[in-house]
Assembly symmetry: C2
Homo-oligomer: 216 residues x 2
DNA sequence: AGTATACATACCGACAGTCGGTATTATAAA
DNA sequence: TTTATAATACCGACTGTCGGTATGTATACT
């Protein structure tokens, strides 16, 4: 294939192709050959010209994944009409409602069967999601008096991990009834911290997403 | 090497060797050749005679790992001097104090960098640990009046995942101070369910285990 | 024109897994 | 007890596939 005048298009093509395959078949079970075949004429040389390893493609895919969440955060963070607690609630709501979430749920058979994704997600949550997103907002909430805790960092980590792992139907697969129960338990826990940040709207969207997977 | 009259010994040798290597170097970075080299004369044929794939060796290793927890459970489950809540507390205590835990902490550099282990552990927790171990005891606690919840299954899952993932220093690596904070948050959460099942003794053992890893 | 870039292609070593073969043990009939 | 037969334990060369590299070539930029 002739060389592309706009190489970024080739990079995006590779990332998008890998993105789809990684989510569908899992990172381990997607070979470079697989990616090449879905690239439409491009060869191995093209891939290794733009990426130095398969793992680097994974990182690019993960970046693409977290991009959406980061946008949501920024939008909420700068709003002046919400206090810390309200911002937290808004972030959870927006995250669940984002089209990326929907796409993820439709495309991915089971992240639980995609070990590297799970691990990377867990680490990104703790090393980036918490310090860059949730923690600053919790601290803001502490300052404005809407959130009370002695352990903002631990609380932030706890909430993120619980939502991203335990409440995530892609990871901890369960029936809709069980998911409902899990929501109730989590809601009760958060109320123990005076955090009324997940409501019936959150629940129904969660169930909606989960039910996508029940019919597959 | 001459054939062994007691083939189970060979199987155990393979499992134990793989066990050590998988924990030390990770499943992905342990090759069959690696295992063979630490087997003392046995060959690839021997391995594939007893196991049909590398993954099957992994399953055997995971079984060996959960064996210990299962024993602890059985010991506690049959005790007549404890109610449900007390049994729960005892199980957590015994689990942390078991020599297997200690060995794990000493030998394993980071389960977080061992994706398959993490995934398998998560799935085993939900599919076996909860229904076979924690849930029956919580239900016992509900019957004897020591535990109160509308959602025993969700609560069991929540506790197990939080302890096994978030509070696990092998997975969510953090400073001792952060681990202390996390303990406090989790303790507060459990108290919200009237579950006073982790105490200062649990904490100090947890910190002790975690500090093993700090000095590596 | 000359250089840097965007690819193509032939190739490499490592890997998991297979297969035909051999040596040892278990079984059981003579 | 001996001997024929079968089953098991193991060996090691081989295969296909994998991620990754080295090198060649055509196109775009300066």
């Amino acid at each position: 294939m002739a060389r592309n005048k706009h190489p970024q298009e080739t990079v995006n093509l590779i990332i998008n192709t890998a993105y789809r395959l990684f989510l569908q078949k899992g990172y381990d079970h997607t070979s470079i050959q697989d990616i090449i075949q879905h690239l439409g004429g491009l060869s191995k040389g093209a891939i290794y010209h733009h990426f130095k390893s398969k793992e680097e493609i994974l990182f690019a895919v993960m970046d693409k994944l977290s991009e959406g969440s980061y946008q949501i955060l920024l939008n909420v963070k700068n709003r002046k009409d919400l206090n810390g607690k309200e911002k937290l609630k808004q972030i959870f709501k927006d995250s669940l409602n984002s089209p990326i979430q929907e796409e993820l749920f439709v495309v991915t058979p089971s992240i639980g069967k995609n070990p590297i994704f799970l691990t990377t997600m867990l680490q990104e949550t703790v090393k980036e999601g918490v310090p860059e997103c949730v923690l600053p907002i919790i601290e803001e909430g502490i300052k404005d008096g809407s959130i009370h805790t002695q352990y903002p960092n631990a609380l932030a980590e706890f909430i993120m991990i619980t939502v991203n792992i335990w409440l995530n139907p892609m990871i901890c697969e369960c029936t809709l009834q069980q998911l409902y129960d899990k929501f109730k338990v989590f809601q009760q826990i958060l109320l123990g911290f005076d955090l009324d940040i997940i409501d019936e709207e959150f629940l129904s969207r969660l169930l909606e997403l989960a039910s996508i997977r029940q019919n597959m």
